[in-house]
Structures are given as C-alpha cells and as structure tokens.
C-alpha cells in the first residue's frame, strides 16, 4: 500500500505506477495510453467517456483496474428501456419480524467504479439520473438522499457506429466528463498475443491488490499538489481562449471547466510519469482527451474532413 509521509516517498511513486501498469498488462495487452488516461481520470476524481468499437476490451480493462485498486465495480448496460430506478435503486417491500417494510435496494450506481456501457442508448431521463450522480456523488430517491461511496467514478462508453435509435449525450453533459478516451484497434503483435491468450487453456493470472481506498485518496490529494509554472497556466488558459476565437474552425469553444480539467489532467499525467512538476509535454498530451468532446467544429471544418483532434493539433502548434 502507498503511504506518503515524506519527500523520500514521492520518489517511490514512479515505481508504484510502474508496478500498477505491469499488473494491468497481465490482462490487458497493449493500450498503455488508454490505461494511463483511465488512471488519470481516477486520480483527478473525475469521470471519463470511452469511445470505441465493440470488442476492444473496455469492460475487461475497467474490471482489471477496479480489482487492482481494490474498488467495487459495477456495470450498467444501457438500453432504451432502462429507467432511472434501474440504476439508482428502488424501494421494495420486505417482510421483517412479521411486518412488511419498505427497504431501499441499492442499484448498480452504488459502487466505486461504474461502467455505463453504451450510455447513448439510455433515455435522456436515465442519462440525467446518472449525470446527477456523477456531479453530486449522491442520489435522491423520494425524499431521501443517499451518499455514494468515495471514491466514485463513472466510466461511460459510446459506440461510434450504430447510431440508430440512440440518444447522443448533449454537449452540456459531455462537458462533465474530464476526458474522452478513444480506444483504437490493437497493434498486430498485441492482437497475436490476445488471440493466443484467449483461445488456449491459459490460466488467467491472479491480480495483486496494489492500492486501497486510503492510498487512492492520498494520491488524489498529491495530484492537486503537483506544482505548475505560471507561464504554463497562462498557456492553458490561452489555449482554451483560442477555441472560442477560432471561428473559422470551431463553432463553439470550450468552457473554463476545460481549463481546470486540462491543468488537473496534466498534473496527474506528470505524477504518473514520475515528474514532480507539470511539463509542457503533459499539457500537450492531455489537450486531446480533455478538449476533443468540448469543441464543436463548424461546417467548413467538417466539410474539409477535419476532426476535433486535427483542430486541437492546429491550436497547439500556434
């Protein structure tokens, strides 16, 4: 377990994260960037939106992370007929000592890591119940409020294809996700290893629990304490301002929430890579997952075939 008591313990953090990633790599082959970004969103105490095609190991990845971090995991498969009580919980009648009483049965939302699969398939009403939980870390049922167990993360997924019959998340709500993580197809060698592992009677390796809730809280606190220079802070705010000024490419730019998110994510990125300060490399690495779901391209940019990542690259090069 990680205990930070002095300056000397900070130097050991790089090894801690290295061991964490090695443990995850026993199950998840490749996708190091994705694993990093999931850890970053956890360290920032925020939520992430995962966009990937089916069958790329999203559920396995998040389950593995939850196991190593000793966090309770639950999965919500979103469908159009999903109602809020299906995820929040509901009152049921139980018999107790010969009497019938209402007892609140907690829903899958009462976990530490919640995987909301294909969130764009759930109805707006169910989406808003989830989003409320994400924002407030509590749920209200009737006239009772239930606090969610800390730490609490929602990792929502979206399928970029099969958009028929879906309810895309409005931009105002996607803004609440710190990162939008794109999961791509694995490299050839990685896919070869995956195929070999999952088509033979290979024993699934046991995973070690490396962190607990207390350690995770310590790390979350440390993330916020990572120092950043004034000119980098100005650079971040300048970048977000640029998203609002470049009308020839961007219809709607990012909000100040993006500035906060980018700096926090850069701090977490620095911590994971063993740095005790935020570097320009951290800002550049985190700009893409932080901004890609917060900017709306105009028709001209879309007609030219530009993606959000292309536009972010143009802004960073300025």
């Amino acid at each position: 377990m990680v205990r930070i008591e002095g300056v000397a313990d900070i130097d050991k953090l790089k090894d801690v994260f290295g061991t964490l990633k090695k443990e995850i790599a026993k199950i998840i082959i490749g996708q190091e960037d994705v694993v990093d970004q999931i850890l970053i969103s956890i360290l920032c105490g925020s939520n992430a939106l995962l966009e990937s095609y089916p069958g790329l190991g999203k559920t396995t990845m998040i389950k593995t992370v939850a196991q190593i971090l000793d966090l309770e995991f639950s999965r919500i498969q979103s469908t159009p007929d999903l109602i809020p009580s299906d995820i929040i919980g509901t009152y049921i009648i139980e018999e107790e000592h010969g009497r019938k009483v209402f007892k609140f049965r907690k829903g899958p939302l009462f976990a530490n890591i919640v995987l909301a699969d294909e969130i764009n398939r759930a109805t707006p009403k169910t989406q808003s119940a989830l989003l409320e939980a994400m924002q407030e870390h509590q749920v209200t049922v009737g006239n009772q409020t239930f606090e969610l167990d800390e730490p609490f993360f929602v990792l929502a997924t979206q399928n970029p294809i099969d958009q028929e019959g879906t309810y895309p998340l409005p931009e105002a709500q996607t803004d609440r996700f710190l990162l939008k993580i794109k999961i791509g197809y694995p490299a050839f060698d990685d896919e070869l290893t995956i195929v070999n592992n999952y088509t033979k009677n290979v024993k699934v390796p046991d995973l070690k629990v490396l962190l607990n809730k207390a350690s995770l809280k310590n790390l979350q606190m440390l993330t916020k304490e990572v120092p950043i220079s004034d000119d980098l802070t100005r650079k971040v705010v300048d970048l977000i301002n640029e998203t609002r000024k470049r009308k020839e490419l961007i219809e709607y730019g990012a909000s100040p929430r993006a500035s906060i998110g980018l700096i926090l994510a850069a701090k977490a990125h620095a911590l994971i890579h063993g740095r005790k300060f935020v570097s320009e490399k951290d800002i550049e690495a985190m700009a893409y997952p932080v901004l890609r779901h917060r900017i709306i391209l105009n028709f001209k940019a879309e007609r030219e075939g530009k993606s959000s990542d292309d536009v972010i690259k143009i802004l960073l090069q300025k």
Partner: protein, 260 residues
C-alpha cells in the same frame, strides 16, 4: 533560508562569475588595443590600464544585470522547466513542492558556470588577444612615434627624420645642404647647441682634431650621441668659452656623418 532559496542565490553567484570572466576577457582586449594605439602616440601605459579597469567594471555590471534566469535555463535545458516551476512556486509549500526543490538542489550540482560559456566566443577572444599581443610587440620594436614625425614645408624641400635604435635608417635629404660644406662651419671647431665651445687644452695633452673623429666600434652616431675620440690640431690653442652657435649646423654635421 530554504535550500531552494539558497540555490537561487548560488545561481546568481554563478551568473556573477560568468559576468566577471567575460568582462575580464573583454577588458584585456580593450587594454591591448589601447596599449597598441598609445604606443604610437608615446602615451604612458598606465592610462590604458586605468581605462581598462574602468571598462572592466562597467562591462561586468552590464553583463550581470542583463543575464537572467532564462539564460541559465537555456544553457541547462534539463533543469529549465524545474527551475521555472520552482521560481513560480517559491511562496507555496506542500510535499510535492518540497520534493521538487529537493530534486532541483540535487540536479543543480551539475549546473556550473562552464555551461553558460560560449566556447566559440571564448576561442575567438583568445585569438584576438594573441594577435594584439603580437602586434604590440612588433610595434614596440619599430618604436614608431607619431609625435616625432616632422613635416614642415619651408621651400627647401621636405625633410624627415626617423630615429631607430639599432637600425641603419637611410636618410633622404633634399636641397643644397649636402653640397655646401660651408654651412657646417669650420670642421675643426665643434659646435654644441647654440654655443661655440673653445677648448683650452694643455699643449702637452692630446690634440683636438675634429677631422679625426672616430666612432666607437659598433656604435652608430645618432641623436644625442657624440664622438668619443676628440683630437686637436697640433699647435692650436683652444679655449672653452661660450659663443652663440646654430644648433642646426650641429645637427647637419652629424647627419653628414650618418650619411657616410
């Protein structure tokens, strides 16, 4: 004082060292140039020294105030961002900042003034100094004195004279001077300055004969040197008394001697 504040103080001292070293090199070049120029004007070396020291102080001060943290960062890119972040968070205190300061103090041991020296510039300055030293030595051996160059225009042609110790400098004389021995006056009588000196010698002593002037071996007659051997014609009676003489005639006499 915290370690990081001590570090920034040490970095300032490193900057000061560099400023002094660079100003020192520049002031040596300045002094050598002045020395070379002054050697032609027969000006004493200590004027150049005083100006050189003044230049050193001003140059060192200007270098010091112009050198910023940015230049230290540019010279040491591996600690650039760390230094910048530490400087901006000096007033904050938490475990991460203390860890950062600790790491900088460790890495700063590898920062030394040598990193901030441009070696190409340094070599160029040393070459320039070498050239100036050689030029100064060469100028010193020539003993060129601009003040002693005489260029009168008095109708009898241009006369010029160069003094050079140890060298036989040819003299180019124009006009009637060489042709008229009478301007030298009586060869038997030595004329010194504006006075005529009549030497009274005991007839029993050696004779004074100006025609028997001999040079000391290896010594060429030049300005301010006089014949060693003086002879008197037999039977002549010379008395030492002062009469006004033309100093030019004396000079002309020696010039004739040199021409031979």
């Amino acid at each position: 004082m915290r370690k990081i504040e001590k570090l920034f103080l040490e970095l300032k001292l490193e900057v000061l060292k560099i400023a002094i070293f660079r100003a020192f090199l520049n002031s040596i070049i300045f002094f050598l140039i002045l020395n070379l120029v002054f050697s032609f004007l027969d000006v004493a070396y200590y004027y150049g020294l005083v100006l050189g020291i003044t230049f050193f102080i001003i140059n060192a001060y200007l270098f010091y105030i112009q050198t910023t943290l940015k230049q230290i960062e540019d010279a040491n890119p591996e600690v650039r961002e760390m230094l910048r972040t530490a400087k901006d968070t000096l007033s904050d205190d938490n475990i991460m900042i203390r860890a950062l300061h600790s790491e900088i103090v460790e890495k700063a041991k590898k920062i030394y003034s040598g990193n901030m020296l441009n070696y190409k510039n340094l070599m160029n300055r040393l070459i320039v100094m070498g050239v100036l030293v050689i030029a100064t030595i060469f100028a010193a051996t020539l003993r060129v004195n601009v003040n002693e160059i005489e260029l009168p225009f008095d109708g009898i042609g241009i006369r010029g004279r160069f003094t050079s110790y140890g060298l036989d400098a040819p003299v180019d004389l124009e006009g009637d001077l060489l042709d008229d021995d009478n301007i030298y006056g009586e060869a038997r009588i030595a004329k010194l300055g504006n006075d005529v000196i009549d030497l009274n010698l005991n007839p029993s002593m050696s004779e004074l004969d100006l025609n028997k002037l001999k040079d000391e071996q290896g010594v060429t007659l030049g300005r301010m040197s006089y014949p060693v051997d003086v002879g008197t014609p037999k039977g002549s009676e010379l008395s030492l008394s002062k009469k006004p003489v033309d100093s030019e005639l004396v000079n002309a006499f020696y010039m004739k001697k040199i021409a031979r």
